[in-house]
């Protein structure tokens, strides 16, 4: 019976080509716009941590003074980062910030490149499950006693070492020799959830060096440094001792108990710091001055999905609803025109359900065609976005799920639009249309 309905639907669609085209156009444009914005939204709101989202946590401290900032900063001071690193209760912890260094190798033929560099601890690789191609992260002792060791990306390894295992070799960062301890496989989480503060969709760094080198190497900070009081930073040491925040801190907390006990530890830490004249916001209790955020919350707090995107998704859904009403009108028009035929079918013994099904199959078919065309629109508009607006490449790839979601939305839109017309037409009184035409 289904194939019979399909056959009838196809004939009916072909019989009124203009009307059918109008409907397909309306549905496909609505779908095209919706899928475009939905795709951007979906990519932006993707959580790369997956099922580790709850486990991976970042720490925020309210170190600002009274009446200054009115929310937690995503960054913390060097002092706090160092103290939190030294807390041995935590099994995994990593302080991290971004810098830039010029990279060279022994090979003079390869030009030096200025690279953005992640300064961090060895646990960073574990927390974020960074995959290694050769070697591994540096030894735990390096986090305590600085050593000039480095982990580089597969791409840089290809460029400087022709892709061979370069573990043990030396590269120069700002002309200082660093020993390669590991080469990681391609790793570029989007959004860049471990540091969305400087462009949530920028590429991951390709060089990783120990955080313990920070004080002696005085790495520039390629990121935000924020202060809430006047503190001139004349030397790097001023920066390290200041209340300025510029470091992010990550840890792993696998269950609620661990979270509670860590929060308790942080509260005790803040109490202790208060006795030393820090954490001066007297309007808050120590437990209000600490916060741990799992990845989901962290992405939310850092506005990884811009509000414009949300507005666009909302408006495009409204747009789709206009298309829906539009199609509804056209379908009603079309179906009512066919009422005499329905009368005949009813007289011959078709039940209401059979007539209803016939028309639902027809609208589904229109919806499906509209969905396919809409997918093409979406593909085209995403490509155009990339070409004309420097929208990041990673945002414009049509998500795999869209291949299922699109026809689903298209067909359900058409079906919703079709229910009323099909209902009206299936309730046609057979006797009305049978008299001489």
């Amino acid at each position: 019976m289904f194939f019979y309905y399909c056959d009838l639907a196809w004939r009916s669609i072909r019989k009124t080509p203009m009307l059918s085209m109008l409907m397909v156009l309306a549905i496909s444009i609505g779908i095209g716009i919706t899928i475009t914005t939905l795709n951007v939204y979906k990519t932006m709101s993707y959580n790369p941590a997956g099922d580790r989202s709850e486990v991976i946590n970042s720490v925020q401290l309210w170190s600002q003074g009274l009446d200054t900032w009115d929310e937690f900063s995503s960054n913390m001071t060097y002092t706090d980062a160092m103290n939190l690193r030294n807390n041995n209760e935590l099994s995994f912890k990593a302080a991290t910030f971004r810098t830039g260094l010029a990279m060279q190798s022994d090979n003079p033929k390869i030009e030096p490149v200025l690279q953005s560099v992640r300064v961090t601890d060895r646990d960073f690789f574990k927390i974020f499950s960074v995959p290694f191609l050769y070697g591994s992260y540096w030894d735990v002792s390096v986090d305590e006693r600085p050593a000039y060791q480095v982990v580089i990306s597969q791409k840089l390894n290809l460029r400087f070492f022709e892709g061979k295992n370069s573990v043990g070799k030396t590269v120069f960062l700002d002309r200082k020799p660093y020993q390669i301890v590991g080469v990681i496989e391609d790793w570029n989480p989007q959004p860049k959830y471990y540091d969305p503060l400087n462009g949530a969709f920028n590429d991951a760094e390709e060089i990783f060096i120990p955080f313990s080198l920070t004080a002696q190497e005085e790495f520039d900070v390629w990121g935000n440094t924020s202060g809430w009081k006047f503190e001139p930073m004349l030397t790097y040491n001023d920066r390290l001792l200041s209340e300025k925040v510029w470091i992010q801190f990550w840890t792993e907390l696998s269950n609620q108990e661990q979270k509670q006990s860590y929060l308790a530890w942080l509260t005790r830490y803040v109490e202790q710091q208060r006795t030393m004249g820090r954490f001066t916001d007297s309007a808050k209790t120590p437990s209000e001055l600490v916060q741990i955020s799992h990845v989901e919350k962290w992405l939310e707090d850092n506005n990884v999905v811009p509000k414009d995107t949300r507005i666009l998704v909302g408006l495009s859904l409204l747009f789709l609803s206009v298309c829906l009403v539009n199609i509804l009108g056209l379908l009603l028009t079309k179906f009512l025109k066919r009422a005499p035929e329905v009368g005949v079918r009813r007289a011959i013994g078709a039940s209401r359900g059979q007539i209803f099904s016939q028309y639902m199959v027809e609208v589904s078919m229109i919806g499906f065609i509209g969905g396919v065309v809409g997918l093409l629109w979406a593909f085209g508009s995403l490509t155009a976005l990339h070409a004309y607006f420097e929208v990041d490449q990673s945002l414009i790839g049509l998500d795999m799920s869209m291949w299922f979601i699109t026809p689903l939305i298209a067909i359900s839109t058409a079906v919703i639009a079709g229910i009323y017309p099909a209902w009206v037409v299936c309730r046609t009184k057979p006797s009305v249309y049978l008299k001489a035409q």
Binding site: L19, L22, L25, A26, I29, G30, I33, T37, G100, L101, A102, P112, V113, L114, D174, R175, K176, D220, F230, E231, P232, M233, L234, P306, K307, D308, R310, I311, L312, G314, L315, S316, L318, F319, S321, V322, C323, V325, N326, L328, G329, L330, L332, T333, K337, L385, Y388, F389, E390, V391, Y420, V424
Partner: protein
């Protein structure tokens, strides 16, 4: 005579199709009003004058990675090189680049005691030398620029001078002239010596975007990573990158030059999200009107087909062609206006939602009104063709039994 009453009562009797039209118009007005408001808002953001000679300023960054380089000296040498290049009008170090999305912000207070002093709003904090103003192409409207012998090199030097942007001066001092005022940063004092007409900061979406200060510090010696701004006529900008690269590497090869961009390009990138939003919304509005118009045409055509006999009868009874056209137009306008009023109200409600959810400003009433007018125009176009067709129906049809 428009005969609204019979049209209205006939509309009331035919249930679904006018209601659908109404619904579509309500939604369209709500969307179009909000979208066009956002578009307009973004466009006016993008049209703000920056105060810079955008097309004439090439910016770039230098990274001296050789630890043996004396950054202080190198900074002076590099600026000399830049200024002596052919076609270069002027060049200067700057700690931050206008409209670049990254930079420094700071604030001054008006007294030595931090607890009692009043703080200025936050402003973009440019550090540079006496050349910077000329490179920017910014207009000094009061006071004077720095002179060469007044330039400091460190943040803790004495004799700090500042140029402030006019909007900042207005915001903090009102109508009083800021010239000669002494401001404080911790223990340091800063004397304001000039007011610049327009001087935008780095973040186009920041509420204090127009508040800026230039202080007399050539900070290029403080680190190995720095940025410069070079001014040249637009026709010379193109070849300048190559010239600069060559000249810098000839002087010292141990550095990386990067991020060559004009301020116009920086501006373009900074506003790209707004441009994107405005474009996408414009396309949406156009498509929406198109779909509404097509849907309307389709429905009017159907109505005419259904009423062929009735129209023929009317014609036979003496209706002129224009009466028939008028009938359909009035019918359409009735739906449009009712839909417009409801849609306009919905637009305001929707605007309120957007406002509370995304802290957007409220939609002014003029937008729904304009949307309704726009929709009236579009529907007129959509209805007039089928209506004219209907008017051509022969009166003889009335006598046939079909």
């Amino acid at each position: 005579m428009l005969h609204i009453k019979p049209i209205l009562s006939s509309l009331m009797r035919s249930k679904s199709s006018p209601i659908l039209l109404l619904l579509q118009i309500i939604l369209s007005v709500a969307i179009v009003a909000n979208a066009s408001f956002i578009i307009n808002e973004r466009l006016s953001l993008m049209q703000r004058e920056s105060g810079y000679a955008e097309e004439q300023i090439l910016t770039f960054s230098v990274y001296n990675f050789d630890p043996s380089i004396d950054n202080m000296k190198q900074n002076q040498v590099d600026q000399q090189i830049l200024r002596s290049l052919p076609n270069v009008i002027d060049a200067s170090y700057s700690n931050m680049l206008p409209l670049s999305d990254s930079g420094w912000m700071d604030r001054y207070v008006d007294g030595p005691d931090e607890d009692t002093a009043k703080s200025t709003p936050g402003f973009a904090f440019y550090l540079g030398n006496e050349h910077l103003l000329n490179v920017m192409g910014a207009k000094l409207i009061a006071g004077r620029n720095f002179s060469a012998d007044e330039i400091n090199t460190g943040l803790d030097d004495s004799g700090m001078l500042a140029l402030v942007s006019q909007p900042l001066a207005k915001a903090f001092w009102g109508d009083e002239s800021p010239l000669g005022k002494t401001m404080y940063q911790g223990t340091q004092t800063v004397t304001i010596i000039g007011v610049v007409d327009k001087l935008q900061g780095a973040w186009v979406d920041h509420e204090n975007f127009e508040y800026s200060v230039i202080q007399n510090i050539d900070f290029g010696g403080s680190s190995s990573n720095k940025s410069y701004m070079v001014r040249a006529l637009p026709e010379h900008i193109k070849g300048l990158e190559e010239t600069i690269r060559k000249a810098f590497h000839a002087e010292n090869p141990n550095r990386v030059l990067d991020n060559f961009q004009t301020v116009a390009e920086l501006r373009d990138r900074s506003y790209s999200n707004h441009r994107l939003m405005a474009t996408v919304l414009s396309i949406m509005v156009v498509l929406l009107l198109l779909i509404t118009a097509l849907g309307l045409t389709g429905m009017v055509m159907f109505n005419i087909q259904r009423r062929t006999k009735q129209i023929g009868t009317r014609r036979a009874l003496g209706a002129r062609k224009r009466d028939i056209i008028q009938y359909f137009m009035v019918e359409n306008y009735l739906i449009c206006i009712v839909g417009g009023v409801i849609g306009g109200m919905l637009a305001l409600v929707l605007g309120q939602q957007l406002m509370s959810l995304y802290s957007l400003p409220m939609v002014p009433v003029i937008y729904p009104i304009l949307s309704v007018i726009g929709l009236l125009v579009v529907t007129t176009l959509a209805v007039i063709v089928p209506a004219a067709k209907a008017a051509n129906i022969s009166p003889a049809l009335a006598t046939r039994s079909v």
